[in-house]
């Protein structure tokens, strides 16, 4: 059985990650089947006009695919095995601070499918996407 994610632990771990600090990626919310990040401009991720470069949002989108998938894992029997596919369609250029959210829309034995939305600072959707993430069954379980 998948256990409920520990939101406080997830946020603390995220705050320590050098990648997140470099790109301004901040864990925002997580629950069963979803994960959400906020992306803020930093030296490396600012576009020079007060917004975030799409590259940082793309990084956060992949992280949403992973973290949303993790919330569905049976930790005794399953483990992560890497992103398989990631597709993003941007409707417009990023503006302001971004919110990137991934929601698991399908789970199979060895695959998780995650729908992605990226919203601008005003709340409008600027990108849709989908990721698929490989799940590995642990032989004999962990117990």
């Amino acid at each position: 059985m998948a256990s409920p994610p520990d939101r406080a632990l997830w946020m603390r771990q995220g705050e320590r990650r050098p990648l997140y600090r470099a790109l301004g990626i901040r864990p925002d919310d997580i629950g069963n089947g979803y994960a959400q990040f906020v992306v803020e401009p930093t030296d490396a991720s600012a576009d020079g006009r007060g917004s975030v470069l799409s590259f940082a949002a793309t990084t956060a989108a992949d992280q949403c695919v992973l973290d949303a998938t993790i919330t569905t894992l049976d930790r005794d029997r399953e483990e992560t095995n890497g992103t398989a596919e990631l597709n993003l369609t941007y409707l417009e250029a990023p503006s302001g601070v971004l919110t990137v959210r991934g929601e698991v829309v399908g789970r199979a034995r060895n695959l998780s499918v995650v729908d992605l939305t990226i919203r601008s600072g005003s709340g409008g959707v600027i990108a849709f996407g989908r990721g698929s993430y490989a799940v590995r069954q642990v032989e004999g379980g962990r117990s």
Binding site: P18, T58, E85, L86, L88
Partner: protein
């Protein structure tokens, strides 16, 4: 037009390239990027490079390839599509992206990007990047 230091400097990407420990050189029809393993770029399964970093690496390679081949005055407005197939874990000290422009039309440009292990040459990621272009004449007409 080929990529040179001036072109790279015109994009607000120097800090991102530095954060990703990435260098850029021109190749026929595009660019070649080399990214080192650092505490920023690792974080994937089994001590591989982070998948989100690889995704951004592909997008970045596409943008820089367009900059390398586009005529003067044409600028990249934004990414429109990004499609990635992750084929194997990137565990090499150096990971290489080669991006080649497939077509640069009036409004859209498309590039193919291959990310490979810098030691073995194994294909880690196959990607395609589509960007919206802004041309001076179109900007004046709108």
């Amino acid at each position: 037009m080929t990529l040179d230091a001036r072109d790279a400097a015109e994009l607000p990407l120097d800090a991102l390239l530095e954060a990703f420990a990435t260098t850029v050189e021109p190749i026929e029809g595009g660019v070649r990027l080399a990214m080192q393993r650092t505490d920023v770029t690792v974080g994937g399964v089994r001590d591989s490079l982070n998948g989100g970093v690889l995704a951004a690496f592909v997008e970045l390679a596409g943008h820089l390839a367009f900059r390398a081949v586009l005529d003067a005055g044409v600028r990249i407005e934004r990414t429109q599509e990004l499609g990635l197939s992750f084929l194997s874990s990137a565990r090499s000290p150096d990971t290489i992206a080669e991006a080649r422009v497939l077509r640069a039309g009036g409004r859209l440009a498309v590039a193919a990007v291959e990310v490979r292990d810098g030691e073995t040459g194994d294909l880690n990621v196959a990607g395609r990047v589509t960007c919206v272009l802004a041309r001076p004449s179109r900007e004046r007409a709108s």
